[in-house]
């Protein structure tokens, strides 16, 4: 299950070799990048069982932009943690880019997060003692990239999010919008097929939030698959599909 990719993982998305667990691809058509099949997540809270997710089935195609919505307690965060390989489903199957997440051990999950996923959080989650460049470089550090190559790559990403001249700044010296741009650059630096965003505008004012959403829109337009959790409908309006959760089940799916 653990694969070793050559160090620079520049192009990875659609050219994955077929794994054993992969369901047969639809002949001719594209296969889903994210595939959930009757996924359940059950927590044991003392004596009571909490069904955070209760049978979620979902296909997300490459290049899609999904928003996951729902009231608090509906299972949004649980679903995002599952999609982000931070957690494993209690039952059901989760296949990410041809790899079955269900049986993976901690190391394999880490490897998957490193190569297949980029995270953007509500509270930015930059490491305060590192500079902007070092924060962006972080995934490359764990991928074992050479220092010079990863520095150049980080500069490239900083330029793309409009922070070329902030490379040596500390996160605390930046505004919220700038910090979120750094976080997006960090999430994109290893060019993962999927970008996960958890309330990316939650800590930003409306204008800055719109800018961040515009950036995400650009990224999606250039082919990046984005899955975003939000409870604001005007933010969710940026996504092509909107998945409404209620009590751990899919309530409805809107979208073109």
């Amino acid at each position: 299950m653990t694969r070793s990719l050559p160090a620079p993982v520049a192009a990875a998305a659609a050219t994955k070799p077929a794994g054993q667990d992969l369901p047969l691809p639809t002949p001719g058509g594209p296969r889903p990048l994210v595939k959930l099949e009757a996924v359940e997540k059950v927590y044991q809270m003392g004596a009571t069982e909490v069904r955070a997710l209760d049978g979620i089935s979902l296909d997300i195609m490459p290049g899609a932009f999904w928003a996951i919505m729902g009231p608090s307690g509906s299972g949004k965060s649980t679903l995002l943690n599952l999609l982000g390989c931070l957690d494993r489903p209690t039952a059901g199957q989760y296949v990410l880019n041809g790899q079955n997440v269900g049986q993976m051990d901690d190391d394999a999950l880490s490897e998957l997060r490193l190569r297949e996923l980029g995270f953007v959080f509500q509270s930015f989650n930059l490491i305060p003692q590192l500079t902007v460049r070092e924060n962006i470089e972080l995934p490359l550090f764990y991928l074992g990239w050479d220092a010079h190559v990863s520095a150049a790559r980080a500069a490239e990403l900083a330029e793309r999010v409009g922070l070329k001249d902030r490379l040596t700044h500390r996160p605390t010296q930046l505004s919220g919008g700038q910090q979120q741009r750094v976080a997006i650059a960090r999430a994109l630096v290893n060019d993962p097929p999927v970008l996960l965003a958890d309330e990316p505008t939650g800590n930003l004012d409306t204008a800055t939030g719109e800018q961040i959403m515009a950036l995400l829109g650009e990224l999606n337009a250039s082919g990046k698959t984005i899955i975003m959790v939000t409870h604001e409908s005007d933010i969710a309006a940026h996504a092509r599909f909107r998945l409404h959760l209620r009590d751990g089940r899919i309530d409805r799916v809107e979208g073109r």
Binding site: S110, L112, R113, L114, F121, Y142, A147
Partner: protein, 421 residues
């Protein structure tokens, strides 16, 4: 690439530690004093034992020294005023040891008398020792000027004498004195040389301590006899002593102690008054080594305890650091850091702290013994193994006490860690 990654890990570790300069400094200080005290303690122990071994070397480790001892409870002593006490080693003892013990290589019979001596206009009471040329070989004393006694001097009963350093000092003799006549008691001798004498110090007495001059044993025996008379508080006291000392050389290290035991058993039969003492420098050396080992353990443990305290300090601070940086750990895990990479990151920080402490501690540990020697006048030797050992231990302590916080950090649930405020 592996190497440069480690370098980057270390750089990151240092950077993180520099964020809390005072905290890191205080943590390092614990290890500094630990390592410093281990090295300083070992240096004091090493210095003391080196001194002891040096003292014993002066006695000759293959030698057994037999001395005549005046018995303390001589019943008739008190009643008779002019009693002649007979005690000490006999010519027969020397012969028996030499001829019956296979492991005995050589023996030196020694007579010791005190005589008034004159050189030029100067007169002093000297301690005169009658010895054979073997004496100088067994003790390996350095000849400072002229020559030592030879067998011809013994056979021809030549009137020659050899001054020791202190004897020469008493008589104000120099190299120029060699060849000149000296009067010892009623007789005239020719000075043939000056030889070194050693003083061991402490409770151990070197065989040539307090000797001023040597003459051939035959000469001493014929001219001064076995009886000496000295006046103590108005009464005369006469002593009959044949030999004051017998120096025995044994063929081999391993034979020293069995031979000493055999000699002791033999002497016991002929000397019911126990008017002798057997000194075995090798046994003293063994004792000194055992003492050294014990001292090293005791002193090393005291230092080790302070090192342990330093280690606990590191662990304490790292546990606090893990709690403080829970969110950072969560971020790193979410990005894709494996557990062992988190463990590595925290371990590197503790090892940087502890080995920095170790290096500074070595400086302290090398400096302290100087001060101890200077102010307390105690001999110290900084042992190389002590330096290597404490640096190794301090790195080990970094790993040992860093492991628990690091593993704790790595085992945090990334979801929980990300939610941590």
């Amino acid at each position: 690439m592996r190497k440069s990654r480690l370098a980057r890990h270390i750089r990151l570790g240092i950077k993180t530690l520099m964020l809390h300069k005072l905290r890191s400094f205080l943590t390092v200080l614990g290890v500094v004093f630990g390592v410093g005290s281990v090295i300083a303690m070992l240096s004091v122990g090493e210095g003391a034992s080196k001194e002891a071994l040096e003292q014993i070397r002066k006695l000759g480790s293959n030698n057994i020294i037999l001395r005549a001892v005046k018995p303390t409870e001589d019943e008739e002593m008190g009643s008779k005023r002019s009693f002649m006490s007979m005690y000490g080693l006999r010519y027969d003892d020397e012969q028996r040891i030499r001829e019956t013990m296979p492991a005995v290589k050589r023996t030196v019979p020694v007579k010791s008398v005190r005589k008034e001596a004159w050189l030029n206009e100067r007169s002093m009471e000297l301690r005169v020792m009658g010895v054979t040329p073997d004496w100088f070989e067994l003790l390996q004393r350095q000849v400072l000027a002229g020559r030592i006694l030879n067998w011809r001097d013994v056979e021809t009963r030549s009137s020659v004498c050899l001054l020791t350093e202190q004897g020469a000092r008493k008589l104000l003799a120099t190299e120029a004195t060699i060849g000149q006549p000296i009067r010892i008691g009623p007789d005239i001798y020719e000075v043939i040389g000056i030889v070194q004498a050693e003083r061991v110090g402490g409770s151990i007495q070197a065989p040539d301590e307090d000797v001023d001059t040597y003459i051939p044993i035959q000469v001493a025996r014929e001219r001064y006899g076995d009886m000496t008379t000295h006046q103590t508080s108005g009464s005369f006291e006469r002593e009959w002593v044949e030999l004051h000392m017998i120096l025995v050389e044994v063929t081999d290290d391993s034979q020293v102690e069995p031979t000493a035991a055999a000699i002791e058993a033999m002497l016991k039969r002929f000397h019911p008054k126990l008017d002798y003492r057997v000194n075995v420098p090798l046994a003293l050396r063994r004792q000194a080594q055992a003492t050294k080992r014990m001292m090293n353990w005791v002193l090393g443990s005291i230092g080790g305890i302070s090192l342990l305290v330093g280690g606990i300090g590191i662990m304490n601070i790292m546990l606090a650091s893990v709690t403080e940086r829970t969110r950072e750990i969560g971020i790193r895990r979410a990005i894709g850091a494996k557990r062992r990479q988190i463990v590595g990151q925290f371990l590197i920080e503790t090892v940087v702290l502890s080995s920095l402490g170790g290096v500074i501690g070595v400086g302290l540990g090398v400096g302290l013994p100087f001060l101890i020697t200077h102010f307390a006048n105690m001999p110290t030797v900084v042992p190389m193994y002590g330096i290597v050992l404490s640096v190794a231990i301090s790195v080990g302590i970094g790993i040992l006490f860093g492991l628990y916080p690091a593993v704790r950090a790595a085992n945090l649930d990334p979801i929980e860690a990300l939610r941590h405020e």
